[in-house]
Each structure stands twice: as C-alpha cells, then as structure tokens.
Amino acid sequence: MSYRPITTILLVVSIFFLPYWFYISALVVAMAAFPLYWESILLGLLIDVLYGERIDSFSAFLFSAGFLALAGLLILLPLRARLRSHASH
C-alpha cells in the first residue's frame, strides 16, 4: 500500500480527533509532498461540514477550507511542474 491512501486515512482520523493546527499543517504538507493531492479538496470540505457553518453566500464559500485547498493545489500546479522540469535535466 502506498503512502498516499495511508496519509489520507490518517488525515481523516486527525480531523475527527486532533487539534486544527495539527491537521491543517499536515494537509498543507501532504499537498506539497504528493503530486496533485486532490484528496485535500475533499478533506477540506469534510472540515467545513464537520466544524464550519452552513455556507450561505459566495464570499463564505471563498473562505471555506475546500475552496482554499483547491486554490492551494492550483498554485502548486505550475510550481511543481517547474520543479520537476528542472530536476529532470
């Protein structure tokens, strides 16, 4: 079993039982460590559903953990591609 699903399971468990500063920093590390860690969007939405308020406006949606995870992945996408292309030469 690869590290990716294990990390996702551990993150789900930590969202349920550990303080936010742990699971949010672990989520950011996972997003940087794994290529296109799309699971982070679902994990962000899980945080919102469990601990957030009902999203009733677009501005509230922009500050939801799920959307922020998507934004983080979109920022990491070109950065990772550049790092990869330099590393391969």
Binding site: F16, F17, L18, P19, Y20, W21, I24, L36, W38, I41, L42, L45, L46, I47, D48, V49, L50, Y51, G52, E53, R54, I55, A65, G66, F67, L70, L73, L74, L77, P78, A81, S85
Partner: protein
C-alpha cells in the same frame, strides 16, 4: 548542439485538464458533503462521546499509579473550580434587585432554567469558534436558541440542529457582530468577533473605558459577554479600539445551558 524545448501547447492543455479535474472534484465534494451534512456529524457523535468517556476513564485509571500526577490534576481541578466561581461572581447582574424590578416592569422573568448539554467538540479541534453539543432536535433544541455557561455568561446561539447533536456558533466567531452595552458608560456598542474567544469594539475616542470593564448583552437580562483586556488609541484616530475577551476559556468548556 541539440536543444530540447518543452512542448508548451501540450503542457498547457494538460494543465487545463487538471484544473477541470480539480473543479470537478470540488463540485462533486460540495454536492455529496452538503447533501449529507447531518450524516457526518451524526456518525461522528458516538465516537466523540466514546472519546470523552474514555478520556475520563483513562484519567481516573492512571491517577492511582501517579501520586504526583494526581496532585497536579487536583490542583488543576481546584483552579478550574476557582475560575468557575470567579466567573460566577463576574457574571452577576448589574444590581440584582434593580434588575428584578426592571424585568417585572417589562413583564419578563429572569431566565434561570434551561437544558444542560455536554460539549462534544470545542476549539482547538474546530478551526472556527464553533461548539458541537450532545443535544439536538430529539431533546427539543431549536436553531437560534441561546447557549450560555452554567455560571451565566452567554456564549453564542445554536446555528444548526441535528437528531442528537447541535452546532453552536459562538459570538466570538470571526466577523460575527453582536449588540452589546459597555457597563461603565451604558454606551451601546457592536461586539465584533475576531476568533479564539476574542472581540473587537470601536468606540468614540472620548468614551471612558478601562481594562477589566464588563461588556453586557443588549437585552433586558444584561448578561456578561466579554471583559475589556486592551485599549488601542492612535493620536490621529477619532475612535479607539477596545480589545476584549470572552469570560470563559473555550478550550475547557464541558457543559453549556441552552435556553430558548
């Protein structure tokens, strides 16, 4: 010399596909998670209850083996009791007999009873100032009910209700605005939550405020909402910023009282 160039068009098209894929994941997640909103909390509630129970049992079991630790825990519980009594003292109404007469005049009764609920999840597990409590629709809890500490200070309102659990939005949630009154001057103010049990209030520069002043709810019950901690004033500003803190330690709340 042979030179290699990245196939730009192909990489751009791949990137577009990835962005579309991520947007699809977000749309799918929003649909699934928000349709099944209550399911996740209801599924997690027994686990949180079990965790709360186990942590109590574990603390009791290990206390026998650790005499030094037991003294420490006794010290902690005594400190908690002391802070609870201090809180009760701080939360007393401005003048009980005057307040009672005022309520009688308005044909209102002082609220003393309510439904007691245990706190399943509290900050720092929740990144926002939200509590999850173990009383819900089955226990007669309704959205909009006031949530207070057993000692008196009011904390927030019930924002979402499920079968056996509810979500409580604290007044200190970032951006949350609550009408209040500065006790010293009787000045009506808007308490703006800034997260972590903290509030911010803007008052005219001439307003007399001191550290330790109480900020009370604007309703007829005048319940304690916050205590002034810091006052910032710039020479060029016509307002001063009053930083205040809720009277309770959010990280230790175990029980709350829900009043309709």
């Amino acid at each position: 010399m042979k030179m290699n160039y990245l196939p730009r068009n192909r990489s751009r098209s791949n990137r577009h596909k990835l962005v579309l894929f991520l947007l699809g994941v977000l749309a799918f997640g929003v649909l699934v998670f928000y349709l099944m909103n209550g399911v996740f909390i209801s599924a997690a509630a027994p686990l949180w209850r079990m965790e709360n129970g186990l942590s109590g049992v574990w603390a009791g079991a290990t206390e026998i083996w650790r005499s030094r630790q037991s003294l420490v825990s006794e010290n902690v519980s005594l400190k908690e009791r002391l802070s609870s009594l201090e809180l009760e003292l701080a939360a007393r109404p401005p003048a009980p007999e005057e307040n009672g007469a005022w309520l009688a005049l308005l044909n209102r009764e002082a609220q003393s009873d309510g439904l007691v609920a245990g706190v399943l999840v509290r900050p720092p597990r929740t990144p926002y100032d939200i509590l999850i409590i173990d009383a819900g629709e089955d226990d007669g809890v309704a959205a909009g009910a006031t949530v207070a500490l057993p000692e008196g200070p009011v904390l927030g309102v019930v924002s979402e209700v499920y079968g056996g659990t509810s979500k409580v939005k604290l007044f200190s949630s970032a951006g949350e605005e609550t009408s209040a009154v500065l006790e010293r001057s009787g000045l009506p103010v808007i308490l703006e939550g800034s997260g972590g049990g903290n509030f911010r209030v803007a008052v005219p520069r001439e307003t007399w405020v001191e550290k330790g002043d109480r900020i009370l709810s604007a309703d007829v019950f005048a319940r304690l909402l916050a205590v002034v901690e810091e006052i910032n004033v710039e020479p060029t500003d016509s307002f001063k910023e009053v930083l205040s803190r809720g009277p309770a330690n959010l990280f230790n709340i175990r029980f709350v009282v829900i009043r309709p």
